[in-house]
Amino acid sequence: MSEITPDLVRHLANLARIDVNDQEVELFAEQISLIVDSMATVKAAVQGDVPATSHPIPMSNVFREDVVEPSLTQAEALSGSADSGDGRFRVHAILDGE
């Protein structure tokens, strides 16, 4: 059994900027545990010298030449945004000084 604690779920929710209530924390802890346990089963099945697969199709070196292609116009770029100003996307204040 994996150890997906309520605190770990809250931590993940915080990283993902998702609001969760206590009931949901319990529910997600159960669900995530199930996923992690399933992974453990897979892991046990491929023990030994099996390299991790990041890409199922053996392809590499797919490149694009360094040639400029048309971009969106500023109006197009901003058209889907909730708020904009000064030709820029307008977002909530970010106060951590970065």
Binding site: L15, H55, S60, S71, Q74
Partner: protein, 500 residues
């Protein structure tokens, strides 16, 4: 901003060993971004170089810029790194509006280059070997402008504006291993290391390498430990150090700040700090904490990069001279004494002098103008001499005008101010402003006669070999001609007159 207590620098070094680590981000000067065909251009109208890929619209698919890969491999090779036979991109997940995708495409456990080293010379002439841990590819983030908030008012509009033109611009991040043993020279070593990286990427032609534009950015890690202690101390990472001088000052500041805390028995907090050039101090940013839980995973939309041996060797063959070798070569070519040359290197003027010399100036003339008058002007304007709006070719032209006797040093200094003000090349300024020296002997003799009228004894004195007496007359002539006379010629004419 609370004022930090600082320990005297020498005292700090007596008590502690300094360990530094440097992360340098180099923005590549490709035509297009890392994963899309949008222009990679500084200073364009906001959000005009953006597309569904770099603003992270659903369904868009990135494609790797081949030239960015070549540039990254070249940087790795120039740093003596091994090139990974397989490199993969990863997603670095974080929520911050500087990237609209909610992750940065980066490299995690398979960087394109690793295990290199760089010889770095500090101003004293000492050389250190800086071990490079890795160089990996990633994309730059957009630019945020914060509006409001700084006034301290809680109410009112506080928001940020985002320009994604820079989002997706290719970056190479070069990370050193911990650097030990630099002692008191750790701040100079940090700056000299970044200078070397800049020289390398400029010579490779892979970056514009302008620090003032953020093409080269440095984060400096500093930690202290008591002499003899094996375990590394807690480090801080200072961001926002955007000039060589800032790097040196920021590292020195952190050494003094941390030493004062440790001496009092206060633990160092592992955190990000921000450098404030105006205050000459760092301030606490956010603590390294949960926010650094980036949950990296392989980028499924991009296939691995597997550079062939032939490709790597082709790029290796095109590598330019190493900075250290280049310095040795040009110093010998120019015949500069060690101290003269050190001044040139420390002022970051190698390129300028090389350009000036190749435009025909004598090396010593090139050195004199760049490290003398131009450095003085830049300093008085609180600027770097390398940022002055004057080219090596123009300085060479100035030197040629002096050589030809068209202007003297004093006039040349005047000409420089007009060149810097954008009035044209030195020759154009001289013509437009009528600044040529008076080489018409008739005009000079008339001025000499006028000056002698006030001090008739001078000719006798010169005849008796007391040349210092000539000074007053030469001075008076120069004054009468408003400085536009050739002092050497005035002197010759005066001696002729005394002996005739």
């Amino acid at each position: 901003m609370a004022k930090d207590e600082l320990m005297n620098y020498e005292k700090a070094l007596e008590q502690f060993e300094v360990v530094i680590g440097l992360e340098v981000h180099v923005e590549l000067n490709t035509n297009t971004k890392m994963f899309c065909g949008c222009r990679n251009e500084f200073g364009d109208e906001p959000n005009t170089n953006v597309c569904p890929i770099c603003i992270g619209l659903p369904g868009s698919l990135p494609a790797v810029n081949k030239r960015a890969i070549e540039s990254s491999i070249s940087i790795g090779l120039a740093l003596g790194c091994q090139i990974a036979p397989t490199g993969r991109f990863s997603r670095k997940n974080y929520f911050y509006p500087d990237l609209a995708k909610n992750f940065q495409t980066s490299q995690y456990d398979e960087p394109i280059a690793f295990e290199g080293s760089l010889e770095v010379e500090v101003p004293s002439g000492n050389t250190f070997t800086v071990a490079i841990e890795r160089a990996h590819m990633e994309e730059d983030a957009g630019k945020l402008t914060h509006v409001g908030g700084s006034t301290g008012r809680i109410q009112g509009a506080e928001y940020s504006l985002v320009d994604y033109n820079r989002a997706g611009v290719p970056l190479v991040e070069i990370v050193t291993k911990p650097v030990y043993g630099a002692g008191a020279e750790a701040p100079e070593l940090a700056a000299a290391y970044v200078r070397s990286i800049r020289e390398i990427v400029k010579a490779l032609g892979v970056s514009d390498a302008k620090m003032e534009r953020g093409n080269v950015r440095c984060d400096a890690n500093v930690s202290l430990r008591p002499h003899g202690q094996e375990k590394l101390g807690t480090r801080t990472e200072t961001k926002n150090v955007n000039s060589l001088r800032s790097i040196e000052r920021a590292v020195r500041y952190e050494i003094q700040r941390q030493a004062a805390l440790l001496a009092k028995g206060t633990a160092i907090i592992q955190e990000t700090r921000h450098w404030h050039e105006d205050k000459g101090a760092t301030s606490s940013g956010r603590p390294k904490s949960d926010a650094d839980d980036y949950r990296y995973f392989p980028e499924p939309d991009l296939v691995p990069v597997q550079p062939s041996k032939e490709w790597i060797e082709e790029l290796r063959a095109k590598l330019p001279e190493q900075p250290a070798a280049r310095r040795k070569r040009v110093q010998a070519e120019w015949g500069f004494a060690d101290l003269e040359f050190r001044d040139v290197v420390n002022a970051d003027l190698l390129d300028q002098i090389e350009e000036t010399v190749s435009a025909g100036a004598k090396p010593q003339d090139a050195r004199k103008w760049w490290t003398g008058e131009l450095a003085r002007i830049a300093n008085s304007q609180d600027q770097n001499v390398t940022e002055l709006p004057i080219s090596g070719a123009q300085v060479a032209e100035l030197a040629a005008l002096i050589e030809a006797g068209k202007i003297n040093d004093r006039l040349a200094r005047e000409v420089l101010t007009y060149v810097l003000a954008g009035e044209g090349s030195p020759a154009e300024v001289v013509t437009a402003r009528g600044l040529e020296v008076v080489s018409d002997d008739g005009a000079l003799i008339a001025a000499i006669d006028a000056a002698l009228a006030g001090q008739p004894d001078v000719l006798d004195a010169i005849r008796e070999g007391r040349m210092q007496a000539a000074g007053a007359v030469i001075g008076a002539v120069m004054k009468a001609m408003k400085g536009s006379a050739d002092a050497g010629r005035v002197r010759e004419l005066l001696i002729e007159k005394a002996n005739s």
